[in-house]
């Protein structure tokens, strides 16, 4: 009985967390990642930081929306197939609600100055959250003192931000560099 209660509590936390995170994911799929990192790694301590990055990389490498893919992977990690379905439900419900409501009167919504200000302000908040999480993640990565990690970090940022290189290409190149680096170290 106690075991069942624990499972139920885990599932409730999963659906509540993903619902709230998804509702605040403004500005594209990557925004949900720092929010998830904050919730599942730093607050709940359910997943460690490296594993979280692995799951995001997996989510990015497969078809579908990043936020949805990563949610399913986290749900599976925490509570198996049931967990995956729960996090999926939590993630797709907010957009479903918002779009259904907004599709009826989007013209007035789009040109409203209050909505404009609200969105700009929330965007600014999101920027601060991303900055904060990136700060912690980079600190973790640099602890390894591996020059290849630093090269990938800077190279991928420049490629993604300045040159708009497709993320799949970035992921492929980074994975290859990691593979070669591993072989090189193994052979030494």
């Amino acid at each position: 009985m106690k075991e069942e209660d624990k499972k139920l509590a885990t599932c409730l936390t999963l659906i509540k967390s993903t619902f709230v995170l998804s509702a605040f994911t403004i500005g594209g799929g990557y925004v949900i990642v720092p929010l998830m990192q904050k919730k599942f790694v730093e607050e709940l301590g359910w997943i460690d930081s490296e594993e979280m990055l692995d799951l995001v990389a997996l989510g990015q490498s497969m078809p579908g929306a990043l936020a949805v893919n990563t949610s399913i992977l986290i749900g599976y990690r925490v509570a198996g197939v049931a967990g995956a379905l729960i996090t999926l439900l939590g993630t797709i419900t907010p957009p479903l609600i918002f779009i259904t409501i907004i599709s009826y009167f989007y013209m007035s919504f789009r040109d409203n100055p209050i909505v404009d200000a609200l969105m700009l302000g929330m965007q600014v908040g999101v920027v601060a959250v991303i900055l904060n999480v990136i700060f912690n993640m980079v600190k973790d990565l640099l602890k390894r003192k591996d020059p290849v990690v630093v090269i990938i970090l800077i190279g991928a940022f420049v490629a993604g931000f300045i040159f708009d290189v497709n993320v799949i290409v970035i992921i492929l190149v980074a994975g290859m560099l990691g593979f070669i680096n591993n072989r090189r170290k193994g052979g030494a």
Partner: protein, 189 residues
């Protein structure tokens, strides 16, 4: 039957959306505007605009919008389930493989390369948002560029609240939005 057609069209979109976000736009447009003619190009452009100011991936938002228009709420649900079904199947397979082989040395090497790339991509997304928020139309001229100083001050305050005072991130996002609305009422923003 229309519900199955919706499911199938969005299943294909979900399956071939690789690389995320804007890479999927032409694909979605081709399927639902050109092939199926469920919505007009103008309506589709509006969906993209709505997607930018509301939470949620563009593929999910399009599915909901098109589904509602074609077959009401049942249509929205059917299209949305269609677009996420490939994700569920593939994610469950990948997750099983990952937990089975993650300790294999070769995979460890590849993953070690992927981690910094993922951090960099999140950083790049943040940088794009930062630039978008900073160079809004109203602002102060600095070296010939219009910069929104209020946005900069807000970012610094929000960052300090998160780092020094450990304020909850969702609360910070929500409060930033609220402050911006108040500032726009006073006429500062």
């Amino acid at each position: 039957m229309i519900l199955i057609e919706l499911f199938w069209a969005f299943f294909k979109i979900g399956l071939f959306t690789i690389g995320g976000g804007y890479a999927s736009l032409p694909l979605i447009e081709n399927e639902i505007v050109d092939v199926q003619a469920w919505i007009t190009l103008q309506e589709y452009t509006d969906v993209v605009t709505i997607s930018q100011i509301t939470p949620g991936p563009i593929a999910i938002n399009s599915a909901t919008f098109v589904g509602t228009k074609v077959a009401g709420f049942a249509g929205a649900v059917s299209a949305t389930i269609g677009v996420v079904t490939p994700s569920i199947i593939i994610a469950l397979l990948l997750a099983r493989m990952y937990y089975k082989y993650r300790n294999v040395d070769t995979l460890q090497g590849v993953l070690a390369g992927l981690r910094p790339a993922v951090v960099a991509l999140i950083g790049a997304a943040g940088a794009s948002l930062f630039v978008a928020a900073l160079f809004q139309t109203d602002g102060v001229q600095v070296a010939g560029v219009t910069v929104n100083l209020v946005a900069i001050v807000l970012v610094i305050i929000a960052f300090t609240a998160l780092r020094k005072y450990k304020v909850d991130s969702i609360l910070v996002i929500f409060l930033s939005g609220l402050v911006a609305v108040v500032l726009s009422f006073i006429g500062i923003l």
